[in-house]
């Protein structure tokens, strides 16, 4: 019984949140949920569709044509040209998009999926759910969490089906450079594997000069790249479960079969709401970005006050910081040295602050923990003050 699921774990983020929910007065900086409510323009679009009687029925499996047309327009503004009729699928969030893509891609003899370590904790489980085997390739912390191409090349073989990464990266908040992404594309071309680029945090970049590049902008890579985006973070819509993916029609027609089997179509009311977000949500998105930027500075100030306990690199994107746990921090909490799970559990138990242990993001995430500054300024201040007070 359950032979397929026995090696699949509940995401550590959810485990921590579950534990935290049982302890009174916990402040959680664990889950990557924006503290904001969904913007009014988005709600208005949903109400309008609801009152029009347009949301009770399934949409086309691809998604509402008018929403996909809007997506195509938005993509074109970012230099990505995809046909809304055949090359875009609206999905139930990014995780469904990733799952559908991996199920379509993974084959019995080509079943390995490369993940960067550290990277988003659910990737490894999704690869397993899709019948694949996650293979970690380390990022180099001392080089700003850059890709270690020597290591990556060693991990690629004839069984490699795909590489899946988040850009900007969760949990490190770093952006992969155009040069590095093109190297990945070159490698994928030589070794014939797919590139899954999850760009859910691309709207939260705090250093304008860093720029942002997507491999989906290169027409020659259309057949190799599957780009994933979700409206969850950008428009504070995590509960609406809405996102999309796009690629060449050759790939999309295969992924569509899986998407159809999994969900039939993305929630229709969320599709209308998302259309409102893309059409009219820009001001709210800018407001969120400004707010996150100020929270980033706030959290960095707190971390600067705790230099004896934590070391960190200031993130460029996303809304996460991924500090390194120094020996003094383990000692202060009475946690096992080198065990970020124990550190996170002790922090929860003794300080009543929930964070995600670094090991959840892959082997090289050990000795770190992830803090979300998507949460409110009040929560950030409270949590960080508690940590500082306890440690000192």
């Amino acid at each position: 019984m359950f032979s397929r699921t026995k090696n699949i774990n509940l995401s550590p983020i959810k485990t921590i949140e579950l534990l935290a929910s049982k302890i009174p007065d916990v402040v959680s900086l664990a889950q990557g949920i924006p503290s904001f409510d969904t913007p009014e323009v988005v709600k208005k679009a949903a109400f309008k569709a609801l009152n029009r009687g347009a949301v009770a029925k399934y949409s086309l499996t691809y998604g509402l044509p008018e929403f996909r047309e809007t997506i195509e327009q938005k993509l074109a503004e970012e230099g990505m040209f995809y046909d809304f009729e055949k090359e875009i699928i609206v999905t139930a969030g990014s995780i469904e998009a990733i799952t559908a893509s991996l199920i379509a891609i993974i084959e019995p003899k080509k079943n390995e999926v490369i993940l960067f370590s550290p990277s988003y904790t659910s990737y490894a489980e999704v690869v397993k759910v899709s019948g694949g085997k996650p293979v970690f390739s380390n990022l180099i912390e001392d080089d700003g969490w850059r890709i270690d191409f020597n290591n990556l090349k060693k991990k690629v073989n004839s069984k490699t089906a795909a590489i899946l990464f988040c850009n900007p990266n969760n949990p490190t908040g770093t952006i992969f450079s155009k040069e590095d992404l093109l190297k990945i594309a070159e490698l994928a071309g030589k070794k014939n594997f797919f590139i899954l680029s999850d760009e859910v945090y691309k709207d939260f970049i705090y250093l304008r000069e860093s720029g942002f590049f997507s491999l989906a902008q290169i027409p020659e890579l259309r057949k190799r790249v599957i780009r994933i985006f979700s409206l969850s973070k950008a428009y504070a819509m995590t509960g609406w479960r809405i996102g999309f993916l796009h690629s060449d029609e050759e790939n999309i027609k295969e992924i569509l079969k899986i998407h159809d089997s999994l969900v039939t179509c993305a929630p229709v009311i969320s599709q209308y709401a998302a259309m409102g977000a893309l059409d009219y949500g820009e001001d709210d998105l800018n407001r969120f970005r400004r707010e996150f930027n100020s929270r980033l500075n706030l959290i960095c100030n707190h971390l600067d006050d705790s230099k004896d306990f934590f070391d960190y690199q200031k993130p460029i994107g996303s809304y996460f910081v991924f500090p390194k746990i120094l020996p003094a921090a383990y000692k202060a909490l009475g946690a096992k040295w080198g065990d970020s799970w124990d550190f996170a559990l002790k922090l929860l138990e003794k300080v009543k602050v929930a964070v995600v242990p670094g090991i959840a993001f892959g082997p090289s995430g050990e000795n770190h923990f992830r803090i979300s500054f998507g949460r409110s300024e009040k929560d950030i201040n409270e949590a960080m003050e508690r940590i500082k007070k306890y440690m000192q």
């Binding site: 047309e69 046909d83 020659e220």
Partner: protein
């Protein structure tokens, strides 16, 4: 926005847009139909600008009862905010009472209908010189009995075209093609099928986009999907015809 507020805004915008059109007298090109209005509008605007004409089009997808007059006036939406709307209304008053209004040769407007009365309302604001009709599909059909009822709305648009106007119909959509008989102006068709006045042929998908021919001229675009080819054909027709 509550109903009374919405009715008031609608009323003001309608009259300001009418006054603007009366004063500026641009050539109006309406792009209507249930799909592909955006890309056709974009291509036509590009073509007109390449010809050195001063042309303007809808902001975002402002194409219905509130959005269309805003597009005519070139103003943003106040969304649900009273003060933003007040600012916009004052801006509109300032604009239409301005002694010297900026010249606009062409207004290229997307027009969208949600329910049967919409077309009458929109045509009461603006009368086109040229109309491009795209498709009649199931999108937005919730408030219509069937596709034929939607076609009846577009028939109203066709009938408003002046004798010296131009009607461009999608040859590949039977319901759209059938509207030709209600026009009193020059009528031309565009499409991918044999028989269209402006037709794209020898379509090939290439790595970087699509390649095709219109009237023997080879055209390459960096976009994918037939809707971009339709957009290119209509723009080609606008460029080629005397308008």
């Amino acid at each position: 926005m509550n109903n009374l507020f919405k009715i008031t805004i609608r009323f003001f915008l309608k009259w300001f847009a009418k006054i603007y059109l009366w004063r500026v007298r641009p050539h109006v090109i309406i792009v209507a139909g249930t799909t592909n209005r955006h890309w056709i509008k974009e291509e036509i605007i590009k073509t007109l600008k390449e010809k050195g004409l001063i042309a303007r089009s809808n902001e975002k997808n402002f194409n219905a009862e509130i959005g269309l007059p805003l597009s005519i006036l070139g103003l943003p939406s106040g969304e649900g905010d009273f003060w933003s709307w007040l600012k916009i209304i004052l801006q509109a008053i300032g604009m239409i009472t301005n002694y010297k209004l900026p010249i606009t040769n062409y207004l290229v407007l997307e027009m969208a209908i949600d329910r049967p009365e919409d077309m009458d309302y929109l045509l009461n604001i603006v009368r086109p010189n040229i109309a491009v009709l795209t498709t009649i599909t199931m999108i937005y059909r919730e408030n219509f009995e069937d596709l034929s009822e939607i076609a009846l709305e577009y028939r109203k648009l066709v009938r408003t075209l002046p004798k010296d106007g131009l009607l461009l119909l999608n040859f590949d959509d039977q319901r759209i093609k059938n509207l030709a008989k209600f026009a009193s102006c020059r009528t031309l068709t565009y499409g991918l099928s044999d028989g269209a006045d402006y037709r794209a042929e020898n379509i090939k998908k290439i790595t970087t986009g699509q390649r095709f021919e219109i009237k023997g001229n080879s055209i390459k675009i960096n976009r994918f999907g037939n809707h971009h080819i339709y957009a290119k054909i209509t723009a080609y027709a606008i460029r080629s015809e005397k308008i």
